[in-house]
């Protein structure tokens, strides 16, 4: 089912009616698209560029939208756009390496995160490998059910489940390394 919703040819000249329908159905999810982009890119400026490009790509493929859930449909395009952007940027670098580059964490100046605990949680999340970060954000921040996560990430449900379990394990390790017992509230190992 690889990129099923994007397999059709792009519509380079959507008519005004299509744009209106797109505006009504997809623009309400711009906050979600930006929020997801924000965690994918870990940078507010790049996130805006990504969200904008993804929205325009979504419009070009909007004729393939069949009235399914709008938010996962859009988030999937955000993710695919990001994968493409990154592939372009790191063309001379093996993807695996780029994937596992250590994260800088969120810049405390730029992030709206207030308070040390929240900043540490954000930094822990930002430091996770891409696959884990994506799935945790979709589940815990975007609050998507497994089926919709499977749509966004193009994965079977079983993989969603096992990857989410691994991501939580890893997040627990990160949090324990950054926060005291009282702050993270996680049970001892």
């Amino acid at each position: 089912m690889a990129r099923m919703s994007e397999a059709p040819t792009p519509d380079t000249r959507p008519d005004p009616g299509t744009v209106e329908r797109f505006r009504a159905l997809m623009l309400p999810h711009l906050d979600a698209a930006y929020g997801f982009a924000r965690w994918l890119t870990r940078d507010p400026v790049t996130a805006q560029d990504l969200a904008q490009e993804a929205m325009l790509r979504a419009l070009r493929y909007f004729h393939a939208f069949r009235g399914e859930e709008a938010r996962p449909w859009l988030l999937r395009i955000v993710r695919n756009t990001w994968v493409d952007q990154r592939a372009k940027r790191t063309a001379d670098q093996p993807l695996e390496m780029a994937e596992n580059q250590p994260a800088d964490g969120l810049d405390p100046e730029q992030s709206a995160v207030a308070g040390d605990r929240r900043r540490q949680v954000a930094a822990a999340l930002a430091a996770l490998p891409t696959d884990m970060r994506q799935i945790l954000v979709l589940r815990e921040i975007q609050d998507l059910p497994y089926k919709q996560i499977a749509t966004v990430l193009d994965l079977p449900i079983g993989t969603v489940m096992s990857r989410l379990a691994r991501a939580r394990e890893r997040m627990a390790v990160e949090l324990r390394g950054r926060l005291g017992r009282r702050e993270h509230g996680l049970p001892d190992l």
Binding site: Q48, L125, I141, M161, A165
Partner: protein
Amino acid sequence: MDCPTCEEMVDAYLDGELTATESADFERALDVCPECRKRLETSKAIGGLMRDLPVEPAPDLLRARIERELRGIAGRTPVARPSNAGGGERMRWMAMAASLIVAVSIGWAGGTLTGRAGMGSGSDRDEMVATYMRVASSEHAVDVASTDRHTVKPWFAGRIDYSPPVQDLTSAGFPLEGGRLDVVDGRKISVLVYRHGQHRVALSLWPATESGDTAPKVTSYNGFSLAQWRHGGFKMHAVSDIAANEMADFAAALDRATGEDR
């Protein structure tokens, strides 16, 4: 239920992905499996910490950029063309310059705006567009909805520390829709909202610090038309997605009506 099964179900249980029967089975298994209980508590705590992270909504400028693209694609709005435009090449260049300004000024969005006196500095114009976007994209474009200026004007009393002149410009093609408050530079200001066909014009006005009237300066910025001027002791900022020549008409009509009033 043996532990590997139980372990596999922890996340699905927490995420509400199990059927009622499966959940009941899992809860029974949990009683005899302290390891899985610990897993469950860990996952729960992580969810709580992540959900506590502040959510950043899409910035106004991003919304404005996308709106501009959508308008361009739908071709609903005539492109704002300054009177001295020298053909397609020039327009393309201007469009490019506009997007560059936006890209550069994003870093400033939300920051403190200083040097407000400078007419049309990048951040100044971004702030104007942001004001417009709050009118154009909010559920209630106006706080007081009325085409009657004698209803709109008194509404501001007690809400801001000055009394803005309110004109109905229906005869000039810009009927009054109402008024609202906005906050610019930490100060509450009055915004009047006018209609022009399917479009809206947001007019922010506050007492000028300099004296004397100036002619409206109309500019195109990022797909929007902006007008900035001083009239009758007030500083005026108007923003809309109408064409630049229509914006000039709007400013002229407003000055005329204010003049007749005095």
